[in-house]
């Protein structure tokens, strides 16, 4: 279980998730206004804080992505990654279950596609992997402590 295969699997998952976060963040940074409108359409957050979220969230994604990729402040990065994917999953499920036919806004607003079941499945998978990485690091710390 802890052989080279497992290590490589963990590494690939870590690279993939951090790559997704960095790409998602970078694609949203130039257009905070458009991203704010994408957030507003979910009808989940109060209008007052939406501009702040639209401005800050892409940068959090980028920083967290680099943290997990480079293992600098790795534990904090894993915590944030779990929070982010949990939030994304809740938002997508909320929109899907309420029949909101809105753009995902996952990777910026230009060419963004409508929310569908595939989005939810992919984010659910990423959410599981992110929790898996967090759990793995927690166990490493716990055993070595």
């Amino acid at each position: 279980m802890k052989g080279r295969g497992w290590q490589w699997l963990t590494r690939v998952v870590r690279w993939s998730l951090s790559g997704v976060l960095i790409y998602a963040g970078v694609s949203k940074i130039p257009d905070p206004r458009g991203f704010s409108h994408a957030i507003a359409n979910y009808r989940l957050l109060p209008e007052l804080i939406i501009p702040w979220v639209g401005w800050l969230l892409p940068w959090v994604e980028v920083v967290v992505g680099f943290s997990v990729l480079t293992r600098i402040f790795y534990r904090g990065g894993l915590v944030w990654m779990g929070i982010l994917f949990t939030g994304f999953l809740v938002a997508l499920l909320w929109a899907y279950l309420h029949g909101l036919d809105i753009e995902c806004g996952c990777f910026g607003t230009s060419g963004s596609s409508q929310i569908n079941l595939l989005h939810i499945q992919l984010v659910a998978l990423a959410w599981l992997f992110s929790l898996g990485l967090l759990w793995q690091q927690w166990r490493v710390d716990h055993v070595s402590a």
Partner: protein, 170 residues
């Protein structure tokens, strides 16, 4: 546990200062007031009467042509034409009532034909007119809860070759 929280806090600070610095340098246009834009409503290919009754969103719900046709065929909702009487007489969806958005008060005899708890589909000339949106807001203020807008309106319906009624004459 403390280390996890501390590192997460540091990362947040880094993100905040990067965002702040970028804002100072690039001046990206930030939203001040953010309202939801009009979402379209998806029935996931299964329009049901119950789904119509579940429509109770605080803002506009837009219907697509196929959904409007399914609802029309099923008779689950009352169609309301928000255009002026002349436009209505020249052609409208069969069974639709005429309730011009700017003359609701003068058409109470039409209004009483629409039960408050019935799904209502409003439409106007097409995607370029906003009479249906205005009428939708008026109806919602009056207590109608299940109001949907068929945004493609008369133009899309007529172009699709669906049934129409024309009231010729003076």
């Amino acid at each position: 546990m403390f280390r996890y929280a501390w590192e997460a806090f540091v990362l947040f600070l880094v993100a905040f200062f990067l965002a702040f610095g970028y804002r100072q340098v690039a001046h990206p246009p930030l939203a001040t007031t953010v309202k939801p834009t009009y979402p379209t409503f998806s029935f996931s290919n299964s329009v049901t009467y119950q789904a119509l009754l579940n429509v109770d969103l605080p803002d506009t719900v837009l219907l697509q042509l196929p959904e409007a046709k399914v609802i029309f065929d099923s008779g689950w909702a009352i169609f309301v034409d928000a255009r002026p009487p002349e436009a209505y007489r020249s052609g409208h969806i069969p069974g639709a009532l005429n309730l011009p958005y700017n003359a609701v008060d003068q058409n109470l005899e039409v209004l009483v034909q629409i039960p408050v708890d019935t799904p209502v589909i409003v439409y106007c000339g097409g995607a370029e007119c906003e009479a249906s949106l205005h009428l939708m807001r008026n109806l919602k203020q009056m207590g109608y809860r299940h109001v949907l807008v068929f945004f493609g309106g008369w133009k899309e319906w007529e172009n699709a070759g669906y049934p129409v009624v024309r009231e010729e004459g003076p």
